[in-house]
Subunit: 113 residues, 4 copies
């Protein structure tokens, strides 16, 4: 993660792109990159999405890379470690969706209240 | 990353949610979580987005955690390491946006061809 | 459409929300509302998505209403009629995806070049 | 609206794309098209977003057309009239955000409870 962070920082610095990277703008860019992942899956069946041909998988891999870059950059600007944030959120989610209540069901947690 | 992966796997396994986690569905869930980040920033100025009050920052941190969780889960299902994908994409981006051409400008790379 | 426009304008004016409604912010808000539609479908099969129970359908209807409101508001700010824009785009799409080439296939148009 | 609907229906029918157009898939496609609008605005200031140059405005107009097409198609599949849904939602929003409480403030309605 640290290595990735310093590479992203160098990339932005060399291009003087710092001024564009407000958290507001980075949140927008993150959503645009995620949509490029979604675009690959929109007309596939779930089954097809589990069995991507190699060329398509390589394209999705690039988009996942872009999402990771922007997520990391947004988190950095806010002083957040995304790995730590994920671990903390996983604990919150565990309490929110008790295993015995939600087993095998996918519904918003509010429906279990 | 490995530690996070095994915690996510246990979380899903305890809830029997595996069947819902096709790459197609995970891409959708990822986009929904990113929108929850965007929602926090939509009416803020860029300046305000750089100076979030602590309560709001804590909420954004939770959403960043959720995005990291789903990104990690989607990548896992496709056999992709998101950190590796980010590093590889950063090299592609470096070639696509040569520093001397794009310095201080934010435009889609196609506009530089 | 005109009737809807004037109702939206009154709603915003009564709340002094004009200043927040830059096209940039409205694009963000539009993406957030669309994600609320996506959220309803993320864990459903395609088949289930064709057969929503009445309460869920009523919720999706509300989200579609919100998307229509923000789309209309964004278009208005840019001096665009969304219906006219849709008709014009449909003609562009007809040329881009010739029926004889794409029949029964869903792929990005570039794949047909 | 009716005229647009029949043109969209003919476009899809000529291409045998009906089978891909489950509400789930259309919700995904809608989110992808909205991201193409967001992409145009992500690095602009709010001020710049209010003053798009003509070529950029023409591109945004095309994306707004695509969003209107997919919104209309999704609504049709669910038996919903998007204009009616917008009018109904505007009344709900009026009750949810009372003008005297939210004047000049943009925050989620829950913050006013």
């Amino acid at each position: 993660m640290k290595d990735l962070r310093s590479k992203i920082a160098a990339f932005i610095d060399e291009r003087d792109w710092e001024e564009f990277h407000s958290p507001k703008n980075l949140a927008m860019a993150l959503s645009v990159e995620v949509a490029e992942i979604v675009e690959h899956f929109q007309w596939l069946t779930e089954e097809q999405s589990r069995n991507l041909p190699p060329e398509k998988l390589a394209e999705v891999r690039e988009e996942i890379g872009d999402v990771m870059i922007y997520l990391s950059e947004l988190a950095e600007k806010l002083g957040i470690d995304p790995m730590e944030a994920a671990r903390a959120k996983l604990e919150i989610n565990s309490a929110k969706y008790p295993a015995n209540l939600v087993k095998g069901k996918a519904a918003k947690y509010t429906e279990y209240r």
